[in-house]
Amino acid sequence: MMFDSFLQQVNLFFHAFTAQLYLTNILIIAFATLMGIIIGAIPGLTATMALALLINLSYGMQFDLAISFLLGVYVGAIMGGCYSAIMINIPGTPAAAATALDGFPLAKRGEGGLAIGAGVIASFVGMLISIACLIFITPFIYKIALKFGQWEYFLLAVFGVMICGNLSTGKDPVKGWVVGFLGFFTAMIGLDKVYAYPRFTLGLLQLKGGISLIPALIGVFGISEILIVLEEEIPYKILGKITKIIPSWKTIYSLIPTAIRSGIIGVGIGAVPGAGEDVAAWVAYDVGKRSSKQGEKFGTGCLEGVAAAETANNACIGGAMIPLLTLAIPGSPPAAMFLAAIWLHGVQPGPMLPIEHPGFLYEVAISLLIATFFMLILGLIIAKPIASILKIRREILMPIVLPLTVIGAYAGGVRIFDIKVTFFFGILGYILRKLDYPMAPLVLGIILGPLADISFRQALMQSRGSLIPLLGRPVGIVLLVAIAWIAYSGFRRTIEYTRKHTQKDTGMIQEG
C-alpha cells in the first residue's frame, strides 16, 4: 500500500518533470528569474514588491505559465537583494540585510565579486535543499492536514497570526498581534460567508464584495515602500570594481557545512507562517557565527557570513511553500503574494489540493528547480552589469513604480475602487511601519481571517458552544498549548520591554 503510494508520487513527479520541460515554460522562467534578480537588486524594490509589480504580467498567462513566472520572480528577487547589500551596503530586499554585514566589508577590500559569487552559489545550495524538503515533507503534511477539523483550522489561523506577530517584532510582540488581528478584522468587511449579511460596509456597495487581497497587498508593500524610500535622500556609491566572481573550489568546499546548516534553518523558518526570509537569514547568520571556527571574523568581511545569510534566505522559499500548499498559509510575505495570485487563477491550496490537482506540488518543485539553475547562471553572468543598474537614481525609479502598482491593483478585478483600496492600504502601511508595526502579520491576518471566522463559528455550532470536544483532539491541543506559550512568552517580552524603558526613563530623569 505504502509502496504503491510511493510509486504514484514518483510517477506524478516524472509527469510534472516532462510537463514543465517545454521551451515556452523554460523561457518564461528564465525571463522571470532575470526580472526578479534585477528588481531584487534595486534598493527599495523588495521581493514582495517584485511579485506585486510583476503579478500584472501573469494575469494574461495560462495557469501553469503564470505559476512558473511568479516562482521565477520570487527565486530571482530573493537572491538579487545580495548585489546591493554587498556593493552599496543597502540590502535590495530585507532578506539580504544580514548579507551586508560581511558582504560590504568584502567589497571595500576589493573582494565584492567573490562575495557576490559566494552569495549566488550559497543561494543555489539553499534552493536545492529547500526543493528537496518541499518534495519530501509536503506529502506527509497533506496527510496530517486531511485530519484537520474546524477546531484545528481555527486554532491554526490564530497560531499563524500569533507566531508571525511574535517573530516579526523584535521588541514588543503586542504590536505584531495588533496588526495581525487588524488583518482579521479587515477580512470581516463585506458579505458574511454563511448568511450573506453585510458587515462593516459603511453602506458602500463596493465594500460588500469585501477587501480584495491583491490590492491590499500591493498597497501595504508597494505604496508604503515608495513613501518610505522617497521620504529621504540617501546618497550611495559603489565601492571597488567587480573582478573575480567565482570562488575557488577550496573556498566553495569550506562553505558547504555552513550552507547545509543554514539551508535547514531556512527551510524550518520558512515553514513557520509569516516569519519570512529576513528572519531566516538573521537566525542562520547568528547560528553560523556561534558555531563557526571563524565566528569572531563574522561582521569583518567573512565569506562564511555571506553564505550563511544567503543560503537561508533562499532556502526559506521552499519552506514557505510547505504551509502554503498544504494549509493555504503563506510562510512569508512574498509567498502571500504568490498565494493571492494562485487564488486568482482558481486554485485553492490546502489538503484537497493533491486530489484536485495531483501534480501541482511537483510542478511547483520543478519550476523552482529550473528557476534555481537560471538563478545560478544568470546571477553569475550579470554580476558585473548589475553595477550599472544600481546607479539608477531612486528619485526617478520609485515614482515610476506607482503607475505599475495602480495597474496591478486594477487588472485583477477591473475595478477603479480597487485602486483606491490600494492607496488606502498604502497609507495605512506607511503609518504603521513608521510606528514600528510589522506588515507580515497584517497580511497573514487578511488571508486567514475568513478561515478563522467560519471555522470557529462552525466548530462552536457543532459542539453547541462547548469547548470540551477540543480536549479529544490531539492536534488541537498541541496548537492550543503552542498559542498559550506564544502569548505567555510574548507578554513576558512586552513586560521586560516596558520595565527596561521605565528604568531608562527614570534614570534619565534622575540624571537630568
Partner: protein, 161 residues
C-alpha cells in the same frame, strides 16, 4: 529624546484608539442580525475581535503609560512640537508625495486617459523630487507612460484604468 521614547506617546495614542475601536466593533457586532444562535451569527467573530482589541489596547496603554507616554504628549503640546512637525522636511516631502498620489488616483485616473494621467503624475512628482533637469523629466514622463501603456495593453493584453 530617543526614538524609543517617542514611540511611547504614539503607543499610548494607538492603545487608546484600539480600546475605542474595539468598543465600536463590539457595539456594531451586537447590532448585527442573529439567525439561529449568537455563536453562529455574523457578528460573533467581530465581537470576539472587539474584545481582543480592547485587551491589547489596554496592554499597550498601560505599557506606554509606564514608559512616560502621557508626559511626552503633555510635553509635545506644551512645546508646540506639532508645529515643528509641519515644518519638518521629511514630513513635508511625504505629505506632498501623498497629495500627488491623491490627485493621480482620485482625480486624474477617473477623468483622463491613462497615458495622460500617468505622464502628468510623473512630471509633477519627478519635478518636485528634482530627479533630473526639466527636459529629461518631460522626456521620462512621456516615454515611460507610453511604454507602460503599450507594454501592458499590446504585449500582455491587460486592461488599463
Amino acid at each position: 529624546m530617543g526614538k524609543m521614547d517617542k514611540m511611547a506617546a504614539a503607543d499610548l495614542i494607538m492603545g487608546l484608539f484600539l480600546i475605542v475601536f474595539g468598543g465600536i466593533a463590539i457595539r456594531t457586532s451586537l447590532n448585527m442580525k442573529v439567525y439561529k444562535t449568537f455563536l453562529d451569527a455574523p457578528g460573533f467573530f467581530p465581537f470576539i475581535l472587539g474584545i481582543i482589541f480592547i485587551f491589547l489596547g489596554s496592554v499597550m496603554t498601560f505599557s506606554s503609560f509606564r514608559r512616560k507616554g502621557f508626559e511626552q504628549i503633555k510635553q509635545s503640546i506644551k512645546n508646540f512640537q506639532i508645529i515643528y512637525l509641519f515644518s519638518n522636511i521629511k514630513f513635508k516631502r511625504v505629505m506632498i508625495l501623498i497629495a500627488l498620489m491623491v490627485i493621480y488616483i482620485f482625480i486624474f485616473i477617473d477623468r483622463l486617459n491613462f497615458i495622460i494621467a500617468t505622464a502628468l503624475y510623473l512630471f509633477f512628482t519627478l519635478y518636485y523630487l528634482k530627479s533630473a533637469n526639466i527636459i529629461k523629466i518631460i522626456f521620462i514622463s512621456i516615454i515611460t507612460s507610453y511604454l507602460i501603456s503599450a507594454f501592458f495593453t499590446s504585449f500582455f493584453r491587460i486592461p488599463l484604468p
